[in-house]
Symmetry: C2
Subunit: 163 residues, 2 copies
DNA sequence: GCAAGATTGTTATTGAAAATAACCGTTATG
DNA sequence: CATAACGGTTATTTTCAATAACAATCTTGC
């Protein structure tokens, strides 16, 4: 039988003072944690890349092209999981700044072979190092072991087959 | 002295056939891995939540309200790192569906105390379980150890002080 | 006690990014 | 050889985050 003086389930606790907000169920969801972790890093990466007039997405494109010389736009879009139509303006900007080139490929006159220029490769290297440092700072709560663990787990999750 | 028959640094390798795209430098950046991992989970979570006419953000709001009865909109916005102006329409929709309530708080007539209804709490519980299952499926490449490690690292990174 | 400033929820507006559709030239396929 | 599929492009739409301004209320410093 129900207790007397029972409080309804949706009662507001007395101690509801101050901003001690609990994650609760949400905190046990990995997707939530991943997003929060990413949100910690993203603004910092954005900040350091802006010094080179790069956004995260254009840096990603540049970096992919450096590491995959000759890649086609469709391949690049698939690798970065974006629409190839939205890729065009980004490639345009990178080419404008002479960080990459669109080369005609003789065997298939539809596609372009994307390659990075020397400037592009150097900029990528410098920017990547800065991003790495920014990440390190943003993740200063993790010791080296944790960071290594995180990288390893992410690699196992994502590596070997893009899906 | 330079070799004869030297190929320029930006040459396109012969084996550039098939979609074997390499992450390269990008793959060593944690932010990139976090985003990719999140991108693996997000669409699945979106899919299962859509069955209850919820989006990820509205589910997050509902869940937060369930776990923090009496929370104010500004607090909620801060906790979820979004603008309180953008929160309004989401709260409106949840209230419309009678999943939550805006209660007037007598001590401060500016703010509302957000509470979940019984329906809201039940829906949250069901939806959360479905999201959990969807995450498990999306992360099937990780064994239990890896999953535990990932959760633990994320918890250390994010827990104890929102910053 | 009161004026000035800060806070809460709200609306409207803006801006940027992602998704969709259609098109042209080219290549692959039956 | 006709038709379909593909790669790049453009234009358009949809979606989402960010900004500004406002009324009502509360807090503060004097």
């Amino acid at each position: 039988m129900p207790k007397l003086d029972e409080s309804p389930d949706d009662a507001i606790p007395e101690d509801r003072i101050g901003p001690k907000v609990e994650d609760g169920v949400l905190g046990n969801l990995i997707g939530y944690g991943l997003k929060r972790a990413y949100m910690r890093i993203h603004p910092e990466a954005q900040r350091v890349l802006a010094e080179d007039d790069l956004r995260v997405v254009s840096f990603s494109c540049l970096s992919m092209i450096v590491d995959n010389p000759g890649i086609a736009q469709t391949e690049l879009a698939a690798a970065l999981q974006m629409e190839r139509s939205n890729l065009v303006v980004i490639i345009d900007a990178l080419e404008e700044r002479e960080l990459i080139e669109r080369r005609k490929v003789p065997t298939d006159r539809r596609r372009f072979a994307l390659t990075a220029t020397l400037r592009g490769r150097h900029l990528r290297d410098r920017a990547a190092e800065r991003v790495r440092l920014a990440e390190e700072a943003a993740l200063d709560r993790l010791d080296d072991d944790d960071r290594a663990r995180l990288i390893a787990v992410l690699e196992r999750l994502l590596g070997a087959g893009a899906r």
